[in-house]
Symmetry: C2
Subunit: 180 residues, 2 copies
């Protein structure tokens, strides 16, 4: 999903500034969608130029000016259109998994540390997702959070139960052959 559609979709749930959109994307949603400032601001500017969002500049008291964007009727139509013509396959990019593929090049100690870190990261993400579901989220958000939790939980369990596989494999080459 391109940043344009993403911005439109988020604005469909309420007006917001670019900064606020970015903050939204740093929450539990980040497991499935994201966009950087470098994508959001140009996207909003272009959407505004095309009349798909309306921009209201709000001079704040003791804060920098805030540009609040809200969806126009044309914007809502464009969003609907984009959502329907959106096949876009899922893409999971994992440096961790890539490292596991190259496990026989790494010292076991390092490998074990990586797995420990990954497990801790997963526990933290699961806790955050559980909190989201307790403290009222919208139903679609809850649904998506549940999906994330299911996948992360499965990955954690798998790692926990099968790490010995890869760790004993890496054990074969104990020390990386020294340079030159």
């Amino acid at each position: 999903m391109d940043s344009r559609t993403l911005c439109l979709g988020l604005l469909a749930q309420g007006a917001a500034s670019g900064y606020e959109l970015k903050k939204l994307l740093e929450g539990p949603l980040r497991h499935f969608v994201d966009a950087s400032f470098g994508s959001i601001y140009p996207a909003l500017a272009r959407l505004a130029a095309e009349g798909l969002v309306a921009c209201t500049e709000q001079a704040q008291d003791r804060r920098p000016d805030k540009k609040v964007y809200q969806l126009t009727p044309q914007g809502r139509l464009a969003l609907l259109d984009a959502l329907i013509n959106l096949p876009g396959r899922d893409r999971f990019r994992s440096d961790f998994a890539a490292l596991m593929l190259f496990a026989d090049l790494l010292p076991v100690r390092h490998l074990s540390e990586l797995i420990d870190e990954k497990l801790a990261e997963q526990e933290a993400a699961l806790a955050e997702l559980a909190a989201l579901r307790e403290g009222g989220a919208s139903l679609p958000q809850e649904f998506v959070a549940g999906l994330a939790a299911a996948m992360i939980g499965a990955a954690r369990d798998y790692l926990d139960e099968n790490r010995h596989m890869i760790e004993s494999h890496a054990l074969q080459n104990v020390v990386t052959p020294s340079a030159t």
Copy 2:
């Protein structure tokens, strides 16, 4: 993981041409890593210029020329270095999940179709991964395939059991309000 490191890592398991690397990435590995021709060829060219891989041009009989790349000792060191200084967090980008977030904008019929398609896609991926594990793969590949299977399987089960949640939610707005 950048294309450079990825190419080095793949070449560490054996010499190959750019085209062959791309084919590798279209297999079951694609669930975790990928790179396009537009990344692979420039990466290989730069690695060759830096002396991290050696290129041997092989004029083939009834095929276009093939440029076979293989890791040099310096390349192996560079790879090891890159792998160790590689934290890089995992990033899962899912248009499907994003669409679920915006479920209340979509007609239920469309939503149900999307879920059906996703389930079919997951079944296919699981079958492919199972086949990989039967027909001998290396241990790291088997490990990573298992991780992929665990996550995809969990997502499939969650979708199967919870789709009614999101489907009955979308039901509220039966028809998208007509244009203009």
